[in-house]
Each structure stands twice: as C-alpha cells, then as structure tokens.
C-alpha cells in the first residue's frame, strides 16, 4: 500500500516536471554536475528554480561518483565538440588546463559589471582566476576541517570541557577508550585520511606551516620539526580507531557518532546532513570544533565554468546562469539546503545552524581563512600525497622522518 503510494507520488512528480519543462521556453542551459544525493539534489533544485524564475530553462545532467567520474565526462564532451552550457568544478586548479587552451569563456566583463571583487572573500576571488582572467562563478564554501563530536559520548566518558589543545584531546580520547567506546570514528579511505591529516596540519601546525606546505610547496617546511610533530600527532590517532575502519564510508563513520558508539570524527560540513537526518541538533546533540590548536577555517567549494560556445542564445543563457549563481537569492537558496555557506559576504546568514555560525565567525576574520589543498595545488600533487598519507597511516613502522622525507620527494618530482 505504501509502495503504491510512493509510486503515485513519483508519477505525479514526473508529470509536474514534464509540465514545468513544457512551460518554460526561456534561455536553455544544460548544466552538468555531480550533486545527486538527497540533500545535494534539493540544493540544485533550489538553484534551478531560481534560474527558471529569472527566465532560464535548466536542463539537468547529473553524474554521481565525485568529481573524478563526472569531470572527465564533461571534459571529454568539451574536447568532443559537444559541451554542456555550464559545468561544475571544484574551486581551484582543476579548471586551469581548460582555460589555458581557450576552451572556457572568460567572465571578466560580467564580474566587473556585477562587482564580484567586492562581494567575494579575496581568497575566493583569486581562486576563480587563471592568468588574470576570471573563469568560474563560485556557488558555495565548504568548511573542510571540522571535528565533530558526540555530546552523549563525551558525557558518558566524563569529558566535560571541549578540548582546545591536542594534549587535552588525547586525554579526552583516553577517557572514551576507558569507557569502552571507540574514541575516533575513522573512515579509512585515503581521501578521508588526508582530510584528517590536513585538519591536524592546520590546527596543530598552524596556518603559516599549512600555507608553506600546500601553497608554496616548500620542501624545507615539510622537513621541519613542526611538520614532523604534526605527523606524529596524526600517527598517534591510529591507536584510537576500531578494527573495522579500513575503506569505511564517511557516512558510516558519522553514523557511529550518531549511534553513540564513537566520540569524534574529522569531516567536512557535509556531515551535518547525516546528523540532521537523524534529528540531531548542532551544539545540542553534537558539537563541532575548528581545531584543536589554532582555530582556522579551511575553505573549499564548488564553481561553475562555462565552455566557449558559438551559439548566441547559449551564450546568453550562460550569462543569465552566472548572474543567478552570483545573486544573493541564488546563493542563499542553494546553500540553505547544501550545508555549506554562501561565498558572498553580504548574504543574510542568520538562519544557518550553530556550526555554520561558528564557521561564519571565522570567515569574517581574514587571518583565520585558508583555502583547501585542492584549491591551492594541482590535483596530481594533492592526490599523490594522499596515497602517501594513507600508506603512512597503515604502516606503523614508517617514522615521521621517513614520512616527511617522502612527502618532500613527491613535491620535488611533480614540480
């Protein structure tokens, strides 16, 4: 019976979609992206609705599997001469090669006209440029260095204060362990391990060291004692995981916090979607920390790029879409569902949750912001280091010295 109902709902949704499709005879834009899960799709729908209301006609092409599946498909279409009107990229260096070969449309005029420079954080304004031209319209800002913790687990283990330093944190983790619970919910996939490492690098190592490593690719900084200290802190966390961690999906790890089985997890702000699903409220049922150590905010996010098209109508649709993406309405509509924060500084954020508010406080202070590694450094280097971080994690015999040595070698080779 419920099944039948679901089918009916599905059918009406389809009909509704068909109708809106037929009505809208606006500027047609095919948009390729990889936002396919429930919350993500809801966010895209908001953006599409805003675009359609502004006289556009959103044609959706969604391909799941993180950017590494969808991005090459889009790039192949651009090379094959059948590009989408607009395409999602992660903020950062991913678009550079396409821009260099003249395959992307520069948005300089539009950016000047709408004064993007004054409404964007400077770091983001720089991140959408390549060789002095603007190629991307940024849509959101994901905080990547969050440390989430379960308040019931902390209470059960007798941890009363939110740990501010790694010494305090390890003391807390020991208490959780003693209480028979899993201290850290680790998802042992390389990207998750690297996220964890970077969070510690930015917190314990500090913003300066982080910038030297990921922005300047400074091998001396990598070989410094401070970097090695960060590596040791990271390695020490091995002792606080459970045996089921290898290749665990991040949301399963979040589930361990939700179920009160594990204490803390390092994850980006998208993890809030899982907590919300489980009817948990930020700062009441679960807590969020930027740190321990220096409390900085690591920014990543998504942009749209616009392939060069000959068709005038399609170019107009691109202009309209870029305008909508950069509008206050578009930013707010999208981000209220996505869990991320708008890239525009002048948007009313008062409705966002307690963790997002913490992030916004950090965002108002320029000295606390820094971009994520994949924004600062070519994918190739970031991901080769990711292999190394994962190898280090699973190889207890590897010392922090050896790790730093190899970390530096990867940078030297890829340069």
């Amino acid at each position: 019976m419920r099944g039948l109902l679901m089918a009916l709902v599905g059918a009406t949704a389809l009909i509704a979609l068909g109708v809106t499709g037929a009505q809208a005879e606006g500027k047609r834009a095919e948009v390729l992206h990889w936002w396919t899960s429930g919350g993500e799709a809801a966010a895209v729908r908001e953006l599409a609705n805003t675009f359609n209301a502004a006289g556009g006609q959103w044609v959706d092409t969604a391909i799941a599997g993180s950017g590494s599946t969808a991005r090459p498909i889009g790039i192949n279409r651009i090379i094959g001469g059948n590009p989408p009107t607009a395409m999602q990229f992660n903020t950062g260096t991913q678009m550079n090669d396409l821009a260099q070969q003249g395959l992307l449309r520069p948005l300089d005029d539009l950016a000047k006209e709408q004064d993007w420079k004054s409404v964007l954080t400077p770091a983001f304004y720089n991140a959408i440029q390549f060789q002095g031209h603007i190629y991307g319209a940024p849509i959101n800002d994901h905080g990547q260095n969050w440390l989430f913790y379960s308040k019931p687990v902390f209470a059960k283990a007798g941890v009363t204060e939110e740990p501010k330093t790694w010494d305090e944190m390890f003391a807390a983790l020991d208490k959780i362990k003693a209480a028979g619970l899993i201290p850290v919910a680790v998802g042992g996939q390389p990207w998750q391990l690297q996220l964890m490492f970077n969070a510690i690098l930015l917190g314990e190592g500090g913003k300066e060291l982080y910038a030297k490593v990921w922005k300047d690719l400074d091998t001396d900084a990598v070989k410094s004692d401070k970097f090695k200290h960060v590596a040791e802190v990271f390695a020490k966390l091995r002792n606080y995981q459970d045996p089921g961690s290898p290749n665990r999906d991040w949301n399963v790890a979040t589930g361990m916090l939700i179920d009160g089985k594990a204490g803390i997890q390092f994850m980006g702000d998208w993890a809030k979607g899982e907590f919300i699903h489980a009817n948990m409220v930020a700062d009441k049922d679960f807590g969020c920390i930027l740190g321990p150590g220096e409390s900085n905010f690591m920014m990543g996010g998504d942009i749209f790029v616009f392939p060069v098209l000959k068709d005038k109508a399609a170019t107009d649709a691109q202009t309209l879409l870029a305008t909508v993406i950069m509008s206050k309405e578009g930013q707010l509509a999208f981000n209220s569902k996505k869990g991320s924060v708008p890239v525009r500084l002048d948007v009313d954020n008062s409705k966002l949750d307690a963790c997002a508010q913490k992030g916004l406080t950090a965002l108002k202070d320029q000295s606390r912001q820094i971009l994520a590694p994949d924004v600062l450094t070519p994918q190739d280097i970031v991901q080769t280091e990711q292999d190394l971080v994962a190898q280090y994690w699973t190889t207890p015999s590897m010392t922090a010295d050896q790790f730093a040595e190899q970390f530096a070698k990867v940078i030297e080779q890829a340069k």
């Binding site: 419920r2 099944g3 679901m6 089918a7 709902v9 599905g10 059918a11 949704a13 389809l14 979609l17 095919e30 992206h33 990889w34 936002w35 396919t36 899960s37 429930g38 919350g39 993500e40 799709a41 895209v44 729908r45 599409a48 959103w58 959706d60 092409t61 969604a62 391909i63 799941a64 599997g65 993180s66 599946t69 090459p72 498909i73 192949n76 279409r77 090379i79 094959g80 001469g81 059948n82 999906d249 949301n251 589930g255 179920d259 998208w270 979607g273 899982e274 699903h277």
Partner: protein, 302 residues
C-alpha cells in the same frame, strides 16, 4: 547436413559416471556442490535481505539477519522514484535507452565478429594474421586509455555523442574476444562441407549466409550472452559516448549508488543493482544449457 560431431556429443549430456545409489562418494559430491552454492549465493542473500530492510534497521549492522519488518519500499523507490539529479524517475528511466543501445550494438558486433572470424578461418589473405594478432593484443589493453583518442576520432567524423557512436564503440570493444570465439568455432567445423560448397560454385558471402550462419547457433548464443552482459552493465562508454538523450540505465544506477555526499540508502542501492542485473540474469536462466553447448563448440575447439 549433419551437426559437427563434437557438438552432437554435447547434446547427449554428462559423460561421467552413471549415478549409483547414495554412496558416500555421492553424498560427498552433493555436499561439495551445496557448500559451493552457499558460497556463491551468500552475497546475493545479503543483497536481497538488505533491500527488504528499512534504513534504521540496516544501521544496526547485522547484515545476515532477516528483516524485522519486511518492506518493499526500497524496490519501488529504486525502480520509479529515486533521483538522478533533478529527475526522479528511478532506474526505469534509462531502461529503454539501454534496450535501444543493446540491440543494435549486439547485432552489429556479432555480425562483424562472426564475419571476421569466418574470413580468418577459411579465407587466407595477406595481412589477416597481423589483423588477428593485433586484435588479440588489443584485448589486453585497459579500456580507459581508449577514451581520449576515440573522442577525438569521433569528433573528426562528426558522430560524437550520438546513438551510432555508442554502437560503434561496443562493436570495437566486443571485436577481439568475439572474433576469437567465432574463429575457433569455424575452425572446428569439418572442412569437407566447405569444400563441397566451393565445388558447387558458392562464393564467400553465399557460404557465410547459407551455410555458416545456420550452423552457428550455439556460438551465436554464447556471443549473445557475453554481449548482453557486457553492454548492459557498461557505464563508462555509455556515459561518455552515447550522449545525454541516450544515457543507459547504468547511469541512473551509478547516480543512486555512487553519490558522495548525503546519506547512502543501502537498501535502495541493493534493489537498484538487482533490478539492473535482471536482464542479463534472465538471459542466463533462460539459456544456461545453450551457453554450455555453445562454449563447448566455440571456446574449446580451435
């Protein structure tokens, strides 16, 4: 016209010992088969029970337990309401696209491969060996490295992102293994038949269509099964080459299964996978006996 002796022999059935009454050996034999069957069925069992549970129950984590509350919702959702971006029609959306890709791709690849295998077996021309050698080596190259150059080639001919484009692609990648099968099969056919036809004045095409095709049923079944499985389950080529209007069912399956952020609905994932696999599974159930016969004749001889 008689069947080749080897094929006829297979039709007779098993050649091992005649069954005796329940001897210890026989009990051991069945025990082995049943244990093996359990090993093979274990993942399918986990998939089916998971697909019939609700998400809170799955989170509790006993993957082997029966559902406490049976629910078919995941199946309904997988088939008709799960979202792919903004379009929420489940995996049924791409079903007909998959059919549209499968049938012409299958016909085209099997036709060209059988023709090639036949020409390689019976008509000796210069360069044929080189062709065959490259084909066999080609079978070992990872698929992914073909993608960029193929996109450039298709672009220059102006077929990129169309239905013909994906059909050609499946033909290209089916060619090595299928040609090998057909060539081996035709080499096992008695030479006398072919000679007689030649003496009667039949040409290459007449012999192919009138003599070879009717005798190729077993190997055609094998080729058909391999292609149904391969083409139906393909995601990468479909999504790169078929064009947006022709996305196969696996694109929706991928979108349901591989979403990176947001909750993973394992029950829907399992249901969607089983549903997507139904077409090849039905083909297997329906043609199990033919499959073995065909393989006997095709893969084994040579």
């Amino acid at each position: 016209m008689t069947m080749p002796s080897s094929v006829a022999k297979v039709m007779e059935g098993p050649s091992g010992h005649k069954p005796q009454h329940l001897s210890p050996a026989r009990i051991g034999l069945y025990a082995f088969l049943v244990i093996a069957a359990l090993f093979f069925l274990l993942p399918l069992y986990v998939m089916i029970v998971t697909s019939l549970k609700s998400m809170p129950e799955i989170r509790q984590g006993n993957i082997f337990a029966f559902p406490q509350v049976w629910t078919g919702e995941a199946w309904v959702q997988a088939w008709s309401t799960a979202c792919t971006g903004l379009e929420c029609g489940g995996i049924s959306v791409g079903f007909w696209n998959s059919v549209k890709i499968l049938i012409p791709s299958m016909i085209m690849s099997i036709f060209i491969s059988s023709l090639t295998g036949y020409a390689l077996s019976f008509w000796r021309v210069k360069g044929a060996n080189v062709l065959f050698a490259i084909l066999l080596l080609g079978a070992f190259i990872p698929y992914q490295v073909f993608i960029y150059p193929l996109v450039l080639i298709y672009r220059s001919v102006g077929v990129y992102s169309t239905l013909p484009c994906i059909i050609i692609t499946h033909t290209v990648f089916g060619l090595p293994v299928l040609t090998l099968l057909f060539r081996n099969y035709y080499s096992s056919l008695p030479m006398e038949l072919f000679k007689a036809a030649r003496v009667d004045g039949a040409g290459l095409w007449q012999i192919f269509f009138r003599l070879m095709i009717p005798m190729s049923i077993p190997i055609l079944v094998v080729a058909g099964i391999l292609q149904v499985t391969g083409i139906w389950n393909d995601f990468l080529f479909g999504v790169v080459f078929a064009g947006r209007e022709n996305f196969p069912m696996t694109v929706q399956l991928n979108n349901i299964v591989n979403s990176t952020q947001g909750e993973k609905l394992y029950n829907v994932n399992m249901a969607a996978t089983i549903l997507t696999a139904l077409v090849p599974l039905i083909v297997y159930f329906g043609s199990g006996r033919w499959f073995v016969r065909g393989i006997t004749a095709g893969a084994v001889k040579g």
